[in-house]
Amino acid sequence: MIRVALFALAVGVVALLPRVLSDFRASQAALVAIYFVALIGLNVLTGYTGQVSLGHGAFMALGGYATAILVSDQRLELFGHTFSSDLRDIWTLPIAGLVAGLAGLVFGIPALRLTGAYLALATFGIGVALPAVLKKAEVLTGGSTGINLFGQPKLTGLGIETTVLGRHLTYNDWLYYACWTVALIGLVVAWLLLRGRLGRAFRAVRDSPTAATSSGVNLSVAKTAAFGISAAYAGVAGGLYAMQTTFVNPGVFDVTLSIFLVVGVVVGGLGTMWTQVFGAAFIVFLPDVAQAISKQPGVPAIVYSVVLIALMLVLPTGVGGLARRAFAPLTSRLYHQS
């Protein structure tokens, strides 16, 4: 019950926040929601199933390009047919998730053989390689210039007027609502997926593959499913990202993005879903804070690194670990001193 009440409270706050946020802040808050979605996905894989991915930016790229291609209506001639799309931006999101999710499933199968550092390299390889491949596949992706969506009539909030709670929305406000709605739905779906059999299987795979197998968990199915679900989340996040920036190019989804996602998920706390919002906020706001302190060459990076390392020292299990400790019953808090 408390969970539902807290969730309702969160929905309320999210619904009313744009009234006090400036346009720029609203667009930043939308970005937080986008990373939130991606981190929920990465948490399914890394936090719950214990598989490291250093290439989740690649799955975001697939989703982002799926949305961009569909919205900008790149007419594709294939086998004598012309494929075109008249989907509005938000209706491309399920497709973005599907494309990335399928790619995740396909990648998850060979990845079954790999663990630890080997899996890290394999996923890292995908993260490094995909932007280069996107650059080469010019027919669909527009090569290194990418696809510009700005001014597309099918962007809701730009081409199509929108009102929420009696307010006419600017593009950034609309984006804010779209991203947060998706993020909150994503959070609920993740809860529902992970609270039952599937979630137990995932955690068993993480904690002891052998014990999981002997309890009747099919390792291959569980791991592949985790990859698929995780990638689907990343794909939806990528689609939203394309809407937020109104353009995609290979540089947007480079390997730095993948690295920041891993940083975000650890800061958010592996194995706890709702605290990933802090990981997302960390990704969005820390660079700004570092820039605000000093713009001299190199100094923002130093600030960033000092904050990150200090945070890892203070909260080695991220915000999630802190929350787990804070909300645990008093007895186990006393007992579990370390």
């Binding site: 053989r113 790999l114 080997y118 990150l308």
Partner: protein
């Protein structure tokens, strides 16, 4: 054929650099079970230190002094930054090394500014003819220096008591402590040695490029990571073989396969390595993971 031989030698030269850095990654991985993402930036930083020293003193003394400073710097990083998070989950330690990566890069920008630097080369770029094929002296020199440092390190691990202690601390920390090895010091020592390897890699990588900046080691770290995994992340021999293989492979694929060119070199190299890993999931020389139930 002459062309092929040249390409192989120049591939081996880059391979030697990858091998040094890959070996540094393996050293730290064996001791702590963590891939050190800051390895490349540590190497970049020491290369800038070398550049500053070489403004004032001759090449080889500066080279030696850089190695000493790298050793001290690496050990200090372990003591001050890594030691406090030692008992945290492995991924947390990885994030700390990512933090170090970002911080060292920023620090180098703060100290040395954004203008590109040129590091002098100890070797001439003239060609030397061996059996009718012209090889660059610089390439041969790089191969020589990288392999020499690797051989020195191997001898250190194989024939000295300290080396034995390092190996023991990596394999079984608890029991090493029981027989009187100071495991904590061994970890710092390991980081120091890894930094020395990185310094060599950086000082060998910079001169052929003409000019270098703070992004010098980022692509090299990718290749080194790939090489270490290809060879088996816990195998020093694997790191060296993997480094040389990756160097030659990347060079040959980039030169002879038309559509690959400069853009797709790295993806193709990674694809090949992925293929190898699917057949041998623990790399070429890695130990198969055996887990206790």
């Amino acid at each position: 054929m002459a062309d092929l031989a040249q390409q192989i030698v120049s591939g081996l030269a880059s391979g030697g650099i990858y091998a040094s850095l890959a070996l540094a990654l393996v050293l730290i991985y064996r001791a702590t079970g963590v891939v050190n993402f800051a390895q490349g930036e540590m190497a970049m930083f020491t290369t800038f230190v070398a550049w500053t020293l070489m403004e004032h003193i001759a090449y080889w003394p500066a080279f030696a002094l850089t190695l000493v400073l790298a050793f001290v710097g690496g050990a200090l990083l372990e003591l001050t930054v890594i030691r406090p998070v030692q008992s945290a989950p492995p991924l947390t330690v990885v994030i700390v090394t990512i933090g170090l990566l970002i911080g060292l890069n920023g620090l180098a920008r703060r100290i040395w500014g954004n203008s590109p630097k040129t590091l002098e080369s100890p070797f001439s770029t003239d060609p030397v003819r061996i059996g009718g094929v012209a090889f660059s002296i610089q390439d041969l020199g790089i191969i020589g220096v990288s392999l020499a440092i690797v051989a020195l390190l191997w001898a250190f691990f194989r024939f000295t008591k300290l080396g034995l202690g390092l190996r023991a601390a990596a394999v079984n920390p608890a029991e090493s402590r029981l027989v009187g090895i100071r495991v904590a010091w061994m970890l710092a020592l390991g980081w120091g040695l890894a930094a020395v390897l990185g310094a060599v890699a950086g000082m060998m990588a910079a001169p052929p490029l003409g000019s270098f900046d703070q992004n010098l080691m980022q692509p090299i770290l990718l290749y080194a990571f790939a090489a270490a995994v290809l060879g088996g992340i816990d195998s020093p021999l694997g790191a060296v073989v993997g480094g040389l293989l990756v160097g030659v492979m990347v060079n040959l694929v980039g030169t002879y396969v038309g559509f690959v060119g400069a853009d797709l070199r790295l993806p193709v190299a990674l694809a090949i390595i992925l293929g190898v890993l699917l057949v041998r999931p623990s790399g070429l020389f890695g130990r198969e993971a055996v887990s206790r139930v």
